[in-house]
Amino acid sequence: MSMAVKCVELCKTYRQGDAEIKALDHLSLEIENGGFVCLSSPSGGGKTTLLNTIGGLDKPDSGEVWIAGKRIDQSSKSELAELRLRQIGFVFQAYNLIPVLSAQENVEFVMQLQGVGDAERGEKSQEVLKEVGLVGLENRRPAEMSGGQQQRVAVARAVVSRPALVLADEPTANLDSKAADSLMDLFTELNERHGTTFIIATHDQRVMAHVPRLVKMLDGRIVDDIQQQAN
């Protein structure tokens, strides 16, 4: 099976005053197309750095990152932006919705960048908002929605243009258990229905129990890579 993501000997070090923090320490990882993987570690374990590096938001100090067979760790900012626009969907812990846009406009934003026409944008955004259960809330701005609803908008935005890879950083951190379960069901459904590869960084036990593959990290290294029976 071809690889959606391949990381080879990734290293990334941050400086905090005099101290050096190894966020990624010779980390190698392969994730096949259509994979559903959870990265787990205690806080500061390197999962967000790994996610940002895979998504081209951050550059490793050394090592290689391959997305869909293309090496990206030496790509320019514009090439990385293009990659994120066409192939990767992001779901952030803090939702990162654009506050002045409505739910539907937030969802349509990526398609607008892609140059998708008005009619198609409207149709697709309505469809995906229905999929995530936000019918009737299309015109609400982020400040007028609950955390769970905002996270659903963020998910809708991430998946609306059917990217091959979705990267989600602590997607359930601000959600209650019901909303978290609902979100994970949604991810599973999208994974199964569209074959989208999901990489989720979390330390939420409910999420970990939900995925077929669990990659445990500690101090920037992979300490365990478990294939499990998802709930």
Binding site: G55, F92, I98, L113
Partner: protein
């Protein structure tokens, strides 16, 4: 930006209006838009550097140009004596019928009347000279000077008018007598020193100058000099004023550019997180930079449009009502300006300021736009802004 554009449009219109008044008022007194003279008259100002047969030549010019704004003059320096005092003055021989067409002195006669007879032994003098000589209307003055041939020239003339131009130098040192009487007194043999020609307005003067040049007789050494060459000081004064104003405008434009830079930079910094988000979603740094520039461009265009429109309205209002500068009377008098200024809107005064501000604003926005290329999405999204 709008305020600075309004200020620039108004100030430049006021300045241009002032220059227009300075030029017209200065030229209206005596100089005119151009003069026909002997070729070295301006440099040497000798009595013998004459325009021969000046009256027929002036008649020809009037006829050929189809304009009444042509008048012949002769000029001499004399000692003017009343019963009590004597002063050295410049006496001009003028054509009483045509002088009012080229000069505002006849219209400035405050007491008595302007010259009437072509060959009358009469004189019009300035108010300060009248005061200095202690003469009034009806009093006699003796003029003593040299004739064209170097002989002694003398005349007794009656004061028929006293003009008050408000320009002390003019009111103190100028007197006018009929040209024919001047020619008789100073043995001019039909000659004079200058033919003043006025155009409909200052802008059409160069075209008229070319026409006059063609009409001049050959082999008499005559030239046409425009007001620039007749009164170089006036143009220099305007240029000096423009230079200092240019400095002021430059400071204003630079201040606006820095305020735009500050505003745009703050607005970019405040939206760092949003920029990080849109970059993480796939917007390229170049596109984001262009958006920041476009934003400044729209802001600048709106500022330029509103500034020009409001500036034009303000200028239009003051161009009918006039503007008084308290305490500026003396300066105004020095440049032969009325105490009330009337701004004059032109395309240059309307567009130059706003376009320069717009250009500088766009230049100032380059740095905030360039910052988009250095922005790291992850760091930007962490920003509290």
């Amino acid at each position: 930006m709008v305020f600075s554009n309004v200020l620039l449009v108004f100030m430049m219109s006021l300045q241009f209006g002032m220059y227009g008044l300075m030029i017209e008022n200065s030229l209206k007194a005596l100089t005119g838009h151009m003069q026909v003279q002997a070729h070295n008259y301006v440099d040497e100002q000798k009595m013998r550097q004459v325009v021969p047969n000046i009256v027929p030549l002036a008649d020809t010019l009037r006829e050929e140009l189809g304009s009444k704004q042509v008048a012949a003059r002769a000029r001499a320096f004399v000692l003017a004596s009343s019963d009590d005092r004597s002063y050295g003055i410049a006496v001009l021989g003028v054509e009483p019928g045509f002088e009012p067409e080229v000069s505002n002195i006849p219209g400035l006669v405050a007491k008595g009347r302007f010259l009437a007879a072509d060959n009358g032994a009469e004189i019009v003098i300035g108010a300060v000279l009248a005061r200095n000589l202690k003469v009034e209307i009806g009093d006699e003055l003796t003029l003593l000077g040299s004739g064209l041939d170097g002989s002694f020239a003398a005349a007794i003339v009656t004061v028929v008018g006293i003009f008050d131009s408000g320009i002390a130098e003019l009111d103190r040192s100028i007197a006018e007598i009929p040209l024919q009487h001047f020619q008789d007194t100073f043995f001019m043999d039909g000659a004079g020193h200058e033919i003043v020609v006025n155009a409909a307005d200052i802008n059409s003067a160069p075209a008229l100058e070319a026409q006059v040049e063609v009409l001049l007789p050959d082999n008499e050494g005559l030239v046409v000099r425009d007001w620039n060459r007749l009164q170089p000081g006036l143009k220099q004064a305007i240029q000096a004023d423009m230079s200092s104003s240019f400095f002021m405008y430059t400071v204003l434009v630079v201040l606006v550019a820095f305020s735009v830079l500050n505003t745009q930079l703050m607005s970019v910094l405040e939206r760092t997180r949003e920029f990080g988000i849109v970059m993480s979603l796939g917007m390229k740094p170049g596109r984001l930079g262009r958006l920041v520039l476009l934003e400044t461009c729209l802001m600048g265009l709106l500022g330029a449009f509103l500034g020009a429109a409001l500036g034009a309205l303000l200028t239009a209002w003051f161009s009918t009502k006039g503007l008084i500068f308290p305490g500026m009377e003396e300066l105004a008098q020095q440049f032969n300006l009325p105490p009330r200024m009337f701004p004059k809107i032109t395309w240059l005064s309307l567009l130059a300021g706003p376009l320069v501000v717009l250009t500088f604003s766009l230049v100032a926005a380059l740095y905030p736009a360039a910052r988009m290329h250095w922005l790291q999405p992850v760091a930007a999204m962490r920003s509290a802004g």
